[in-house]
Symmetry: C2
Subunit: 236 residues, 2 copies
């Protein structure tokens, strides 16, 4: 865990809003292309603790690879034409009658239509749809002083790096995040059960911007206390 | 179930956006006062299929009563000073390590601080935090033609009736909604397990606007297929 020693002296411009602007990190300077359009078939890296945004045309498929098996990847899908429409887990759950999507399931947007479809999942299918993206407030509450990378910042910065801005940070599809719900409705925070090289494939049902964050959580053991990179590629 | 026979001829002004404006109903014309300030100790009705918004000062307590025992009440808390801060179930779950809050639990906002506190629950504690507010898209997908009341519209209209507007419809705290999560992560849609007269009490930790919707869902049996009214009162 790396964090500075100074207290919470955020400038006024960094006060929280729905866009959750609370700081900056390397994500902002490292778009995969100017507008996020990928080279089809090329393998890209989401570096440890960072985020990336990529454009998919309808019908294209993104493969997201848990290269080391131990990493959570917070994932968002936005309608490329209107970022106020996005994959909404609370609408998706109601559509599939499940907490966790499985291969074949449509991924519903906040307008109750398919924005994507989960095609493939080589892992045991343990993902999370219940827990908000980590943000600086989360780390402050966990005792961190000063800035800490977060999935909320990574989402915002990855979009900004390709010239886009969303007005909120939706509930992510937290790939490989292992949050069991017990019979008494309590939850636990556990390391992933996936193995190195497991991947999911998601088809874009409409033109999309997909954002991924290699979760920097290093206090709660969801990334096995060692945040690392993940990889992805897009195919037609 | 009542709905008109004409097809989906919504005017352009009613196209979906994050404010989810899709229609109107009696909620708009029936604020409990001009700005939502209640008379302390008075019992108010949320009529069947409608919504109401009420202002609470920090420290005041709202009691929401499931008068008939069979009714779901979608409930939202907004920061009265800034409606972009609200009770966020995805942040609340992470704070309490539970899917469903229980008495004593702080209710966290999307800025990871307490906006309310659940004080009392005379029911068996079965509520929902996983399912989005119903909206017209939901009813269209269920086969309804034309307008159908919805919790999303009720929230928007209840705020509008007291001169307010939120820019999104957050995941509600769905009081008494019975959505069991099974071991295989599938969910079911069942009638409430509460009894007539059960109530919850929520304390406002900051100045709040509380919005309630007596859920008009009459196709899926979460309201025992008979949407009815609920009641509430505010005390200092």
């Amino acid at each position: 865990m790396s964090h500075s020693n100074h207290a919470h002296d955020y400038p006024a411009c960094c006060q929280p809003d729905n866009g959750a602007s609370l700081g900056t990190n390397a994500t902002l300077a490292e778009p995969l292309s100017a507008d996020g359009t990928p080279e089809l078939g090329k393998t890209y890296t989401v570096p440890a603790r960072c985020g990336r945004a990529v454009r998919l045309k309808a019908g294209e498929v993104i493969r997201i690879v848990n290269t080391h098996g131990t990493q959570v990847c917070d994932t968002w899908l936005f309608n490329a034409e209107d970022l106020s429409e996005f994959l909404s887990m609370e609408h998706a759950r109601a559509h599939i009658d499940r907490v966790i999507p499985k291969p074949g399931d449509e991924l519903f947007s906040n307008r109750r239509r398919a924005i994507g479809k989960l095609l493939t999942d080589t892992s045991p299918g343990v993902h999370d749809t219940l827990i908000a993206a980590c943000d600086l407030h989360r780390y402050t509450n966990l005792g961190v002083e000063g800035y800490h990378d977060s999935c909320a910042d990574n989402m915002r910065l990855a979009l900004q790096a390709i010239g886009l801005r969303a007005r909120e940070v939706p509930q992510p599809f937290n790939l490989w995040m292992n949050i069991p719900v017990k019979a008494d409705y309590s939850i636990e925070w556990l390391p992933p059960v996936s193995k190195a090289g497991d991947y999911v494939e998601i088809e874009a049902v409409m033109d999309c911007v997909v954002v991924m964050s290699a979760c920097p959580q290093d206090i709660v053991p969801i990334n096995d206390l060692n945040p690392v990179e993940v990889h992805f590629s897009v195919s037609a």
